[in-house]
């Protein structure tokens, strides 16, 4: 089927307004929250599950790839149409279909914004636990695709721990549920296979999520340090003391500068690191735990420890923390964020290594991380326009990921593999591991139709990411 014919049938399915082909329309879909760009040919925005199924069938007949996209906030290039085809934007499927507080369940469409779920139930004393920093913009569908985490992952786990079931459109256009509204359905946990599959197995069209009761008390403190080492050691000591905080977040001096320049919340600009500690639970427990955390901060060398006096102050701290990535623009035109993981006890060592990498490659690196679970986000700051800089950035990124693996960690905590890290996945998995995963993929998507060129290393790219000369940034991942 020719492209014109495909466009015609897509228009019949979703309506003229929701099929984009003009350059001044589709160009804005060439990039997500990452730095990768590939110009799309067609963007289709279905309005319901039947339309999604019909779009999948149309792409099937035309034999073109389908690239699902939510809010486009992903940081690994997962929604970039690497091999062309149709971008299937799910933003119009944005209804909350059901809220069942008695059974702590909501059923939502994939385009629903993460924070909107919590907003819809907050007045009843409930919340949806996974809280990526982009939660004011990212979609639940995108969270499912990337098995997203967030600051509160430490206490509540990642997205897969909060998804009971998903309705999916398979490669032949059939619609089915995997899992359901009750926990522990028998048989293979195909729901679990879909969560984190980065859009490579099919299109998620409904999600049954678990809702949680808000805790009686939440206490939050901000500890200010003159040395990064002291902040990371404090994290090790807090967990060693048997406190399991809801969140343990560190931001370094450069990140503080970005936040304070972009949308200030009042972090001290002369500190080397700030640590946010949040504890929750029954009032007595939260009170005791925060007191203990405070003592440990002071013992480990915090120059000041401030308890958030009220909810407004707590919200301000989190606004600063959650805006940190977006604030990088206040320091540099581009940033390349890594998503490494190291065992918590290796944090002090890892931070020293990052400082060394920053010096060696002569690049500013802003660190903001989920310290509690050793999930690092070094943001390498650069300017795409200055020649040669991007190459150094790629090399510095590779060096940080290698350091993570050397220290016994992993190359992604929560952002997914996407385009960005597929060259490195071989560092983590053996050929046999990858083949096992590829078999699962083939079982669902034998034609390699869904989000091709993601997640798995392409033959040309086992090893190093290479740049095409004079061409940025689409060639970055080849």
């Amino acid at each position: 089927m020719a492209i014109e014919e495909l466009v015609r049938s897509l228009r019949e399915i979703v309506g003229d307004r929701y099929v984009l082909v003009e350059k001044e329309d589709v160009i804005v879909y060439e990039q997500d929250g990452s730095i990768f760009q590939v110009m799309p040919e067609i963007v289709a925005l279905p309005g319901d599950v039947e339309q999604v199924a019909a779009v999948v069938k149309a792409a099937q007949s035309a034999n073109v790839p389908i690239v699902p996209r939510g809010s486009g906030t992903g940081l690994a290039g997962g929604a970039v149409p690497a091999e062309g085809g149709v971008i299937l934007s799910l933003t119009r499927l944005n209804r909350i279909l059901k809220i069942d507080l008695e059974n702590h369940i909501a059923v939502v469409e994939p385009g629903v914004i993460n924070l909107d779920v919590t907003k819809a139930i907050a007045k009843d004393g409930f919340f949806y636990a996974p809280d990526p920093s982009s939660q004011a913009a990212c979609s639940i569908g995108g969270n499912v695709a990337n098995n997203s985490g967030g600051p509160h992952t430490l206490a509540y786990g990642v997205t897969t721990n909060h998804v009971l079931g998903v309705e999916v459109v398979l490669d032949d256009g059939s619609i089915t549920w995997l899992g359901g509204e009750v926990p522990d359905t028998p048989g293979y946990d195909l729901r679990g296979v879909f969560v984190g599959s980065e859009g490579t197995l099919g299109i998620v069209t409904k999600i049954a999520v678990r809702l949680m009761r808000a805790r009686e008390s939440v206490r939050t403190l901000l500890a200010i340090f003159d040395q990064m080492d002291h902040a990371t050691q404090t994290v090790v000591d807090i967990t060693a003391a048997g406190i399991i905080p809801a969140a343990l977040e560190i931001m370094d001096r450069t990140t503080i500068e970005a936040v304070e320049r972009g949308a200030p919340v009042g972090f001290p600009r002369d500190a080397e690191a700030v640590l946010i500690v949040e504890v929750e639970g029954l009032s007595e427990h939260a009170e005791r735990a925060i007191g203990l955390a405070r003592e440990i901060c002071q013992r480990d060398g915090a120059r000041e420890v401030k308890l958030a006096a009220d909810e407004a102050e707590r919200q301000r701290l989190w606004k600063g923390r959650k805006g940190a990535f977006g604030a990088m623009g206040a320091l540099a035109p581009n940033y390349y964020v890594q998503d490494g993981v190291v065992p918590r006890s290796k944090l002090p060592e890892m931070m020293r290594r990052i400082a060394e990498i920053s010096q060696r490659f002569n690049l500013r690196i802003a660190n903001v991380f989920h310290a509690g679970d050793g999930n690092l986000h070094p943001n390498i700051l650069f300017d795409m326009r200055s020649p040669g800089e991007l190459e150094r950035v790629i090399d510095a990124g590779a060096a940080t990921l290698r350091a993570c693996i050397e220290l016994g960690g992993s190359i992604t905590g929560e952002h997914g593999i996407g385009l960005e890290k597929k060259a490195y996945i071989g560092l983590l998995f053996s050929e046999t591991d990858l083949e096992a995963m590829a078999r699962v993929r083939r079982a669902f998507d034998p034609d390699n139709r869904f989000n091709p060129a993601k997640l798995f290393p392409t033959p040309a790219s086992c090893g190093e990411i290479r740049l095409q000369p004079g061409h940025i940034p689409a060639g970055l991942w080849i």
Partner: protein, 430 residues
């Protein structure tokens, strides 16, 4: 597969005037998306702040042309600047959109553009012409001509005619000398008269002067002042806008005052950014910065000064609509609420999304009535849910829009300026 993509990036001939520093502050995080009224309504990336920034960047790089499609995306934007409040990097989206519109010129069909150009360059800068035009409109409304015309106007024109507000019987006439402070003098200020304010909301201007007087302010109206130029700047006309800015700078900077008070949010936001508008004018750049530093919204100024004098109870339940160019453009969120809460007997009930645009947006309600009405309808629903008796919105555009919303969609509420209610509380104390 890569070869064609390489060519994609290789098109030269960018537009240097659009290669703005603000573009490189956006890191594509997307936190603006869900705050954008048009993105919320359509769920289309080209109708989002991030999408529009991407388009302008692509045009600056010469990857796309400034064609009709591009113009549609840039002009569907309300310029509400809610994205600026949401942006963690502090990207000044308004500057980007205004620069793009400057390249495009005013929106609409050829005829529409000609009409707008005429209004921007031949009407707004001249207060007498505006006054005359509004007097004619008033005659049209009161002579019975309106009733006859409505029978014959073509549909599109008839719809626009419906939006024409009732012109009050009296226009505002600024005080010739000083309106003196009542009680101990605390400040000497100059006030912007405005272009539409004195013609449609003369009573608000009068109320503002009285409230300022009661708070110990000597109020003057420099006679050489002009319209602020906001409508021009927002719609791609900058030549006349810069002239108006220079005229205001001259008129107000020489008046020996502590502050320049503005009671229209859109005007205040523009006047606070004269420094940016005149950044390439060596004679006025510094003066503009000094001038802008003195500009204060009436509510902002009074909240900072602190109210004095006895306020009589105003028994009323109201909800507050944040004018976009107050809350996002000037970051003034708490001060007006603080003033409302200072009025005894008055109960303030917050609506859902108070800081979301009502769809007025200058002349947007005329150029994009479909989107404008969609947003207004949603707004009226949020207002209805508060159970309020009245809406407070300290900006003329919002007031007109909400009045038409109240009569069109209900609930049938009164719409006040913040200064109306403060004035009422003071006057009843007499």
């Amino acid at each position: 597969m890569q070869a064609d993509k390489t060519q994609e990036h290789a098109t030269p001939q960018g537009i240097a005037a659009l290669d703005l520093p603000e573009l490189y502050q956006c890191v594509h995080c997307g936190l603006c998306l869900n705050q954008c009224p048009t993105y919320r309504a359509l769920q289309l990336e080209p109708e989002s702040p991030r999408g529009r920034i991407h388009l302008v960047k692509a045009a600056a790089e010469g990857r796309i042309e400034l064609n009709e499609r591009f113009a549609e995306h840039l002009y569907l934007c309300l310029l509400c600047r809610a994205c600026e409040s949401a942006c963690p990097s502090g990207v000044q989206y308004g500057h980007i959109a205004e620069a793009a519109r400057e390249q495009l010129g005013p929106p609409g069909s050829e005829l529409g553009r000609a009409v707008l150009n005429f209004v921007f360059t031949q009407m707004l800068p001249y207060r007498n012409r505006l006054r005359f035009a509004f007097a004619l409109l008033r005659l049209y409304q009161r002579s019975g001509l309106q009733r006859i015309a409505r029978l014959f106007l073509p549909k599109k024109l008839a719809e626009m005619e419906q939006l024409l507000p009732a012109i009050p019987s009296r226009f505002f006439k600024p005080h010739a000398g000083i309106a003196p402070a009542i009680g101990a003098r605390r400040a000497r200020i100059a006030m912007l008269d405005g272009c539409v304010m004195p013609l449609l909301f003369g009573s608000v201007n009068n109320a503002t002067v009285r409230v300022l007087q009661r708070n110990g302010c000597d109020v003057i109206f420099p006679s050489q002042q002009s319209c602020c130029g906001a409508l021009n700047v927002h719609n791609g006309e900058t030549t006349a806008a810069k002239q108006m800015a220079r005229r205001n700078i001259d008129a107000f900077l020489d008046a020996d005052v502590e502050a320049v008070i503005v009671n229209a949010a859109g005007c205040g936001a523009t006047m606070k950014e004269y420094g940016h508008l005149l950044r390439d004018d060596p004679d006025y750049r510094d003066k503009a910065e000094r001038f802008s530093a003195r500009v204060k919204d009436a509510g902002e100024f009074l909240a900072d000064l602190g109210l004095v004098g006895e306020l009589h109870p105003v028994e009323m339940t109201v909800t507050y609509q944040d004018p976009c160019h107050l809350v996002h453009g000037q970051r003034i969120r708490n001060q007006p609420r603080k003033l409302l809460q200072a009025i005894p007997g008055l109960k303030l009930v917050e609506m859902e999304g108070a800081d979301r645009c009502c769809g007025s947006a200058g002349i947007y309600n005329l150029t994009h009535s479909g989107m404008s009405q969609h947003l207004l309808k949603e707004k009226m629903q949020s207002i209805a849910a508060t159970g309020s008796e009245a809406i407070v919105a300290p900006n003329p555009g919002c007031m007109l829009q909400l009045r038409s919303g109240a009569s069109r969609f209900g609930p049938d509420l009164k719409v006040y300026h913040l200064m109306d209610l403060l004035d009422r509380a003071y006057r009843q104390a007499d």
